[in-house]
Symmetry: C2
Subunit: 339 residues, 2 copies
């Protein structure tokens, strides 16, 4: 690899002068600069990041730790968002995927330390509390899609309550009154928050929410969920006073509702409006009719996580805001107004 010294020798100047030019130091004669720049390019010089770092400068590399991006595929967008933000300043991500393995996570923390990363984004695959057990890690840690159980770290989380509110509000505005809800498993944060949002929307509309119309669309413990939305939807839609619309816990639940509707010869959206959550485009854009849903703002969470990390560098270690990122309705074809 080409070093400063090689370039300096060719150009007949000192190493330091070349260094200055590489770093855009204005205290260099224009003529020298041009001459050296020519050599820099022809030799394809690229500064050695390791050497730079050793000189005490902080790393331009950030760590990205995630328990498993695989299960909810679009959460990769958190990575994309983070990279988009880092890119402006030529910073990079060192990615660690723990797949939930604690021993692996420990190793990765060690690796982050070895690389002297300038900060770490800890992202989880679903919205949940998390304890960051790295008391002696001095650089900022920001949580994305999860929040600090102890309230000691900044975090970025989707506004699930607002999202639930938006789902219900959207259907209520279309005139629906009997609205079914097929939830995710009960013991995750999103379920509680979205449920609260839905109920708030009913209250704000001066209506009461029929609790009997809320059923589970998934069952089982975290990480071992079973889809039961098809059966739940069939049962709900076979009832005499069936709902005219269904709010789904996610787009996969909506997919099963579509199947259930087909099974019962109900036409979407004529006979049944359906609204999803997550906006997993593989599903939402390809279903016919395409699925109106509420988007999880993964890209935005990733982007803001980086910005928050930069802010955290300025603030003291106790700065720990919990930032809600809105979940907007993405309107497609699966809902229609009721007369």
């Amino acid at each position: 690899m080409v070093t400063l010294r090689e370039v300096a020798e060719r150009a007949g100047v000192s190493i330091k002068t070349v260094s200055r030019i590489v770093n855009g130091d204005p205290a260099v004669n224009a003529k020298t600069r041009i001459a050296v720049q020519h050599h820099l390019e022809s030799l394809n010089y690229v500064p050695n990041h390791a050497a730079r770092m050793m000189r005490g400068g902080s790393s331009s590399v950030f760590g990205f730790m995630t328990d498993a991006v695989a299960t909810t595929p679009y959460s990769v967008d958190i990575v994309r968002g983070a990279q988009a933000a880092l890119n402006e300043k030529n910073q990079t991500l060192l990615i660690a995927n723990t797949d939930g393995d604690e021993k692996l996570e420990k190793e990765y923390w060690r690796m982050f330390r070895a690389h002297r990363v300038a900060g770490v984004i800890y992202a989880s695959m679903f919205h949940r509390p998390h304890i960051v057990g790295q008391p002696d890690f001095k650089d900022p840690i920001v949580l994305a899609n999860c929040f600090a159980a102890l309230g000691d770290k900044p975090s970025l989380i989707p506004d699930d309550e607002g999202g639930g509110y938006a789902q219900a509000e959207y259907l209520l505005k279309l005139g629906h009154r009997r609205i079914g809800v097929l939830t995710l498993i009960p013991d995750i944060v999103a379920t509680t928050l979205r449920g609260a949002g839905i109920r708030q929307a009913f209250r704000d509309a001066g209506l009461s929410f029929d609790e009997s119309l809320e059923q589970r669309g998934m069952d089982g413990p975290v990480h071992f969920e079973r889809m039961i939305a098809f059966d739940a939807a069939v049962k709900m839609l076979s009832a005499k006073d069936r709902p005219s619309a269904i709010i789904c816990g996610n787009d996969q639940v909506a997919l099963q509702v579509y199947s259930a509707a087909a099974h019962l010869d109900l036409h979407i959206p004529r006979d049944l409006s359906v609204i999803g959550f997550d906006d997993q485009k593989v599903i939402s854009e390809n279903l016919r009719p395409s699925l109106t849903t509420v988007a999880l703002p993964y890209f935005e969470i990733g982007r803001q996580a980086v910005e928050t990390m930069r802010e955290a560098k300025q603030n003291d270690a106790n700065w720990a805001p919990k930032i809600l990122v809105p979940c907007p309705v993405v309107e497609r074809e699966s809902c229609c107004a009721i007369s």
Copy 2:
């Protein structure tokens, strides 16, 4: 951060002795080793990767460049597979997402050089040829999910032809004879290969393939695809001598075939068998009935890419095998035997 020197001072030995212990050099007295190890742990010493690298040692960091993992969400599994393989040797991935932007890609190559990465995996989101324009990059480059257009780099690609063969063979074995095909857009490699595989399966079974039953499920140029599978399927299934089974270009096409079947009151699998491609679990596992499909072996491609990179280090620069990774059938509920 704790350095060798600090540890050495506390332990009352030289820096070099501590270094030896950290690196497992056997030429250290057992008593000294134990004493120093105690200090290493209590100070939580982690070697400085940058300093290590400067001493000429090669980096334990690999670059991962991808044009866009976002569109086909499960291709993240390439990353997971690569990490699983790297993890055994405490190596890491520096991830670069170009989103197809060439200028960005250039910057990232520069960054890889700056970090002196030990090798690069170049992954694309769909199976295609690629020209790696990095003639002066001395470390190995391995292509994943794409192959070197000039045949000058090792590459790992899904066995699309085998996958197409498997789709057709599976249905033929179930007794289907009139089999519709809804392809991806024509100008990508996968379409051609899978088509060839399907035809080969027919030949091997001593049957002729009815070309009129092959229709496009998607249209438009690369990156601007439009889904037309719903309409194509409706048309195909409305015909008098409609096929008893449909081979889909991917699971999204299959999703639309499900919608088309529902639209026409055809029951899957009783009236129509459907087989997908990709195994996008969000779709395949959640459709009712669940979707029999052929899996794209992304995880395996990532894993083998790392192994291939390690081999490439041993071999000379001209070593450039094109390795096919098989695409296995994942049997679920969407196909049944025909009498």
